[in-house]
Amino acid sequence: EKQKLIEEVHALVTVRDAKHTNFVEFRNFKIVYRRYAGLYFCICVDVNDNNLAYLEAIHNFVEVLNEFFHNVCELDLVFNFYKVYSVVDEMFLAGEIRETSQIKVLKQLTTLTSLE
């Protein structure tokens, strides 16, 4: 079922080119997405949430990833998927934004990796 969802979202988002806005309606939610090179980062939010703020959140997240992996590229994300999940957990939790300061997040992450 998750797989079906992924396919649906994929079909919706990949057909949109640069001329379209970064928001698309999906079931009774909204998807805010941003494209970075070959990857689309999508966030699914309620209809009355602030679109622009979540665009910023996506960007924040990508910047943290960049710092963490030192110039991240797609392969980094694939091979270290569990680390990506830990970054997600640091910044978002229970569907809300948790921490926005990049410095703090990075500090936590380095401590976590040192524990392994």
Partner: protein
């Protein structure tokens, strides 16, 4: 003898290598093979209860599940990992739990115990892991069990844990709203924290709580001044490099605070007043060159719109939206259009200023922007700008996608109906719409247009003229052809005689009867016309048989020809019409004579219902009657026709003209019918009040009325069909009689009802109307 494969006893494949293997597979089948082999191996090793590599195996399993392969056999393993003391194990275990499990599984209940232990762990990172997992997959049972723990952690001094605990609480409250009581006290203290992260999470929690729980709403409203102060400090205080994004200090926190203020200020004037200043400050001081600033401004605008703010603030908000519209970034324009749509009903004037920009947006490439712009344009049409707007919309109609056309045409029609400066212009524009929109026009528009044409006698010839010109060369557009055939059928004689006000530059346009008939025949015979269009055409031809007496024979032969047509509908009509020529020739003239003016349920020009309160949009007050044009009906036979009832209750105020004495129409068998009158020039409004003095209820009460040819009557639905016994209540029904010739009013009424299980009916003629009704 075959030896067992030694390599399988060695260390299992590392995660990295597995990933590499999978990625290097060239075809989907190859990839599936690799994955299946690895899964089989993993399953074996799980069965062997091998602790050492479990972690790695589960990691591989997770990767595989990300790719989409089923991995549920790993769920139990995750539990075991969680229970292990090693950090790496726990980490992968929790990750696995979050990915593979959800609330619907039963296994997750087993995690509860491990979670409880971990929540009390001394190592904050392990506690953090536990909180993460809890936040992701918490179920109602789990939240009840572990709610206390979470609350305790919310009070801890460790900021890291505090943030996680607060968000966990958000999820818990979403699942089990009653848990709020546990958290209530702690929440308030959270809002006075200095740490941005904690504030952020706390505002999220409070927003969630307030949205669910109105009682909490009152409690937190008192905190509005605090929130305002925090926001102020945030903006004023200098530079905080940690939370800074492009020069704006912690925009996320600002947005969250604004949202919380919105939730708290809704419907509450007092709170809204406190917020006014700060909102104005944020709106003016935030720079909007980057997306970040715009995000904050957008949130501010949303808040201003939702709370009870003063009008100056609202205008400010609309101006901000106007500025958004001019922005080159299409996201921002989309967002602005969306919000303007919500605002326009309340604050039309403010939005009118930006009309030009909105019209520009119609030409944007993005579909969703176009749609929003179109809806907004329709909302903005009023009597001043109707001409320009309609011409813009016509241009838009020509280039827009098909799925818009139906909506666009319907909306244009509604708008024109409400604001059209003159009938002639109205008819002109509608013809243009029909020509442009082709076949995507909805059916009710056809009948509406027909009724409009019939409504204005002076336009009959003109309409016929214009329509004839449009279909002269091109009969592919079905709705247009339908309207044209009807018009030509009805008013063809006026058209041919040239006795009407022609459009400019065409005074010498003369049309012969032959051409009109030929066009109609062409429509009828053309195989691409739909059945409905051909029905219109055949009706029109029939009507012309009396209007163009020279061509009666030709038309008769057409009918005879179509009497053998394969289509049932056409054949029926043709046969009936043919018989009109032969057997019933004497009544042919009566049957196809000119139709009376069709009264539609419309608001005419100059009589618009005022909006009840500023925020309500006027839904379409126009409902077209389901008159199918072409039914030739003898007008006085209304008693057997369905009553033209409409759903629009024109609530005439009844005070002005009540100088006409009431009249008792009927008083028989305990049923008493009283007419009260109100008159406005040639229109008389009669309110019939029925009371019942018998001891039984009267049910299924139906009232019908008919008037002579020179009058016109319109009956509105009664307030019920039951009259309570013993005069306990009354049944009221309104009707409107128009009397353009000021003749003596006569009326024939027919009642039917059920009294004490007996069906009764009455029929009588009323002549004794007071003179003031019609003089």
């Amino acid at each position: 003898m075959k030896f067992p494969d030694l390599s399988s006893l060695s260390n299992p494949v590392r995660l990295r290598d597995l990933i590499r293997q999978i990625r290097s597979a060239k075809t989907a089948a190859e990839e599936r093979a690799v994955v299946q082999k690895e899964c089989a191996y993993i399953r074996d090793s799980f069965r062997d209860e091998d602790n050492t590599w479990r972690c790695r195996n589960v990691a591989k399993l997770l990767y595989v599940s990300l790719l989409g392969y089923p991995a549920h056999f790993g769920q139990l393993e995750c539990l075991k990992l969680i229970a292990s003391p090693r950090f790496t194990d726990k980490r992968i275990g929790y990750l696995g739990a979050m990915l593979l499990l959800d609330e619907r599984q039963d296994i997750h209940v087993m995690i509860t115990n491990s979670l409880k232990n971990d929540l009390n762990h001394s190592n904050q990172y392990i506690t953090g892991l536990a909180l993460c997992a809890l936040g992701a997959i918490c179920s109602p049972e789990m939240s009840r069990d572990l709610g206390d723990e979470v609350e305790r952690l919310m009070k801890s001094s460790n900021v890291y844990l505090k943030k996680k605990a607060v968000l966990c609480a958000v999820r818990i409250i979403r699942k089990v709203p009653e848990q709020f009581d546990i958290f209530q006290n702690t929440i308030r203290s959270l809002l006075s924290e200095k740490n941005h992260g904690v504030l952020l999470t706390a505002t999220a929690l409070v927003t969630e709580v307030c949205q669910q729980n109105t009682q909490a709403l009152h409690v937190f409203r008192k905190l509005v001044p605090n929130l305002v102060r925090i926001l102020k400090n945030l903006i004023m205080s200098g530079y905080s490099p940690e939370h800074d994004v492009s020069g704006i200090s912690d925009p996320f926190l600002q947005v969250h605070l604004l949202r919380l203020l919105r939730v708290l200020g809704r419907n509450d004037t007092e709170a809204s007043d406190t917020m006014n200043d700060i909102l104005a400050q944020v709106a003016t001081n935030t720079e909007n060159s980057k997306n970040v600033g715009n995000a904050i401004l957008y949130e501010t605008v949303l808040t201003i719109m939702d709370i009870k703010s003063e009008s100056g603030l609202r205008v400010l908000a609309v101006n901000i939206l106007g500025r958004f519209l001019l922005n080159t970034d299409k996201n921002i324009r989309y967002v602005a259009l969306n919000t303007l749509l919500r605002v326009v009903h309340a604050d039309q004037n403010a939005v009118q200023r930006h009309r030009a920009t909105i019209v520009e947006c119609l030409k944007d490439a993005d579909v969703s922007i176009k749609r929003r712009a179109m809806e907004l344009c329709f909302a903005l049409i009023n009597s001043n700008n109707i001409r320009t707007m309609i011409s813009e919309m016509l241009e838009f109609l020509a280039i827009c996608e098909t799925e818009f056309k139906a909506d666009c045409t319907s909306n244009m029609f509604l708008a024109m109906d409400r604001f059209a400066p003159s009938r002639r212009w109205h008819v002109d524009q509608m013809i243009k719409v029909l020509t442009t929109a082709g076949n995507s026009v909805r059916d009710d528009i056809v009948s509406s247009l027909i009724s409009i044409i019939s409504l204005t006698p002076e336009l009959h010839g003109y309409a016929a003229h214009q329509l004839y010109k449009t279909i002269e060369n091109d009969i592919t557009q079905q709705p247009l052809v339908q309207v044209a055939s009807w018009t030509l059928g009805e008013f063809g004689d006026i058209f041919v005689s040239g006795q009407y006000k022609k459009p400019e530059n065409e005074d010498n346009f003369q049309i012969s009867e032959e051409k009109v008939i030929r066009t109609l025949e062409h429509i009828l015979n053309w195989s691409i016309s739909t059945v409905i269009t051909r029905e219109y055409a055949i009706n029109a031809l029939m009507k012309l048989s009396t209007r163009f007496p020279n061509y009666t024979n030709r038309i008769q032969s057409v009918m005879a020809h179509y009497g053998c047509n394969m289509n049932l509908e056409l054949q029926t009509r043709a046969v009936e019409y043919a018989s009109l020529f032969t057997a019933h020739n004497d009544i042919r003239a009566n049957i196809v004579e000119r139709m009376p003016i069709l009264i539609n349920n419309q608001t005419n020009n100059g009589e618009q219902a005022e909006p009840v309160d500023g925020s309500m949009e006027q839904p379409s007050l126009i409902e077209t009657s389901d008159d199918v044009p072409g039914t030739e009906a003898n007008i006085f036979d209304i008693l057997n026709d369905p009553i033209q009832t409409n759903g629009n209750l024109f609530d005439l105020d009844g005070d002005n003209h009540n100088t006409i004495p009431a009249m008792i129409a009927l008083d028989k068998n305990g049923l008493s019918l009283t007419f009260t009158f109100e008159r406005q020039d040639t229109t008389l409004t009669i309110t019939s009040t029925a009371t019942n003095s018998t001891p039984y209820n009267i049910t299924n009460f139906v009232f019908k009325a008919a008037v002579p040819k020179t009058f016109h009557i319109e009956l509105y639905p009664a307030n019920s069909t039951t009259i309570p016994a013993n005069k306990a209540g009354e049944l009221r029904q309104e009707m409107k009689v128009s009397n353009p010739n000021r003749e003596k009013l006569r009326m024939r009424i027919k009642l039917s009802y059920v009294l004490n299980t007996n069906s009764m009916s009455e029929e009588m003629e009323l002549n004794a109307f007071p003179e003031q009704c019609y003089k």
